[in-house]
Amino acid sequence: MTDIPAKAAVNSMSSGSVLLTLMKARTFIALIAVLLFFSIAAPNFLSAANLILMSKHVALNAFLAMGMTFVIITGGIDLSVGSIVGLCGMVAGYLVLNGIDLQVGYTIYFNVFEIALITLAVGILIGAVNGLLITRLNVAPFIATLGVLYVARGLALLSSDGRTFPNLVGKPELGTTGFGFLGAGRLLGLPVALWILLVVALGAAYLAKYTPLGRHIFAVGGNERAARISGVRVNMVKMFVYMFSGFCAAIVGLIISSELMASHPATGESFELNAIAAAVLGGTSMSGGRGTIGGTIVGAFVIGILSDGLVMMGVSSFWQMVIKGLVIIVAVVVDQAQRRLQSRVTLMQMAKAG
């Protein structure tokens, strides 16, 4: 079995290279494939309304997946993002409805902009808790973020006794109106959420490629010991990635509450799994050191389009889960095959060079 691809590769280097290029572009190919498939199989799939609706769904997962990508590149994992989404939604809802009671007869109400800032700060803070547990107390990322997953979800439920904060329109006299802008607003015909995604994604991609922090994120994931000896502040890098992940989750919490004009404490359950799936589908390596923001976004689109398309085709949600799982497995298998092929091609190039 193993001999066949080896010999094929020896016989024609160029076919190996072509195969390698195809494999590298696999996420893109998958994206085009699902787009083509559903545009034929599902009526109305390519309508503008549907595309916009779909991209809004995708955007939510894409935010989480970007945060997750940085975390996974450093060799960690963040299971708490779904709970942070829920908790941040509740924070925003609570502030719109109740403000902060100062216990001396006054209650402060914030305008929507301030509420957004506070909510983002809460997300970053929870990320910082993750980071501190991992860097200072040496808790394994899986366990630390699992613990925070429960704590944050519990706090979200406690904040309202498990009830939904409904009707977040706000009161004009308190200046709390306009919360719906994030979820329902449009700029130049596109949803605000998409514009935010664009900004955050460009920022994250720039960070990864052109800043020392970005370089350090990859170095920490590739070889933490070597990074440390080279003077990389490993703990700071890790703090950053978990805080950024918390930040992304807070954005998602805000957008969802704003879309629904209500905050429900169970929002975001199992979102972390979709985020991990998107990152992995986009070529992020679970062992750390490899991954791109662009790949992750494409991965999020593949997963999002796949699930929305299947819904439109009327496929049962049970089958949807099976299909989604298979796609992820195939993606990782192809990823491994690509690594092997790549090292073989490199070896051969070196052998030829002498």
Partner: protein
Amino acid sequence: MSGDQDVILKLEDVSKVYSGTVAVKRANFEVRKGAVNVLVGENGAGKSTLMKIIAGVEQPTLGRILLDGEEVSFSSSGDAVNRGIGMVFQELNLFGNLTVAENIFATREITNRFRKIDRKEQERRAAEFLERLEAGIRPDMLVEDLRIGQQQLVEIAKAVSLDARILIMDEPTSALSAAEVEILFKVIADLKARGVAIVYISHRLEELIRIGDTITVLRDGRITGQAEMKDVDTQWIVRQMIGSDAKDFAKADGHVPGEEIFRAEDICLPRVTGGLAVDHVSLSLRAGEILGIYGLMGAGRSELFDCIMGRHGHSTGTIFIAGKKVHERDTTRRIRRGLALIPEDRQREGLVSILSVASNLTLASLSRFVRLFHIRGAAERQAVTQTVRELAIKVADPAQEVSSLSGGNQQKVVIGKALLTGPKVLLMDEPSRGIDVGAKADVFRTMRKLSRDGLGILFATSDLDEVMALSDRIAVMSNGKLTGMFDRAEATEAALVAASAFGHGPVPHGEQGA
């Protein structure tokens, strides 16, 4: 005296290629029973790879292995053990969290009728093997609590306990004192008398000549000489090992060292298991001086470097750079103060192997190329190109992954990374380990050039020739202590060896450090 019937194992035209290097090229090698078959060669000549092929740890890329005249192929070390081949590994392959007895019987546990491990019996049998090594090691001790030298003895006991027909020993004496070596030789003589074929690898030529029956020399993955030990002398071995031209150590250029640039005072590092890994070490270094630190494996050289770099929060002592006390305790800021470390283990500590050559080179010095928070690509590329040229790193494109380079070129990348931080003091831990002769000469030349430019260089090595040839002064460490300090003019090999064995004994010394 020995005909073909004595040959128990034969390698025919064996080659092994790793990504980046050809480790063994078409080697033919015979192992005779009841004899000590010596294998020598420089670091990186391919000895360990060849032995790993025999022991089933690695599979040959090409070629055949004949055992008792019949072709075999081992898919794992378990296969080889089943055919009677045991190996003492150079890197200790022990489980620190298990006891000595559990280590010796790992994967061959002695069980009772109910498949339960018979701990008592294991410890009794283990004690017998340890007895022969006179090491004073109890079978119920945890391996991680033992000295490196003692761990090496456990490794030997484990291999002996296999009752192997062929026993490979890869540098079994690298952490042993002279007295411990004597005991090992008695054990080897005993095994030989029982008809066991022993393959013995070592750097110490005097050892080889004493116990070897046949000798095979490897250079750059090729076998360059094979002879009966009684027919050869040291000069012959050296000639085969390094080829026609003499070892290229880059001559001293006679420049005079300047002012003191670095001083360490009273550096201590406690061991987890009690005692001190670095025991009140003080030394000073002048600008333009190369200070060699010689010692056996586990003498505390690497740990000393780690303390100087601030890698251990719980180490004590003070360091000074150019007369000014260094208050910073973390690696990042110590690098900024002008310290740089080239670690011993390139793969684990030196390189981020999945990043490119360029990213590795600039990893420690990124702040030099940054405006605000943006890495200026042009400035970075220019520095990379310059370093690649200056250190003669053989790479087609710096965007290539660093793991695709050969060992020597990888080492140059690690050195380049350290130099780009603009250090005043360079700490080099075994800088010539596992690289080929040409790259070694390049590294030594670079060291000379840097010292001429006024850098202070501390370099740790367990290679006597190297330390004698390159150092302006030589410090010797043993058991965490500084046990000798010699000027090059007055240093003799005998004095260095004596100082490096200080505090070692055949029986473990008491808990003196605690």
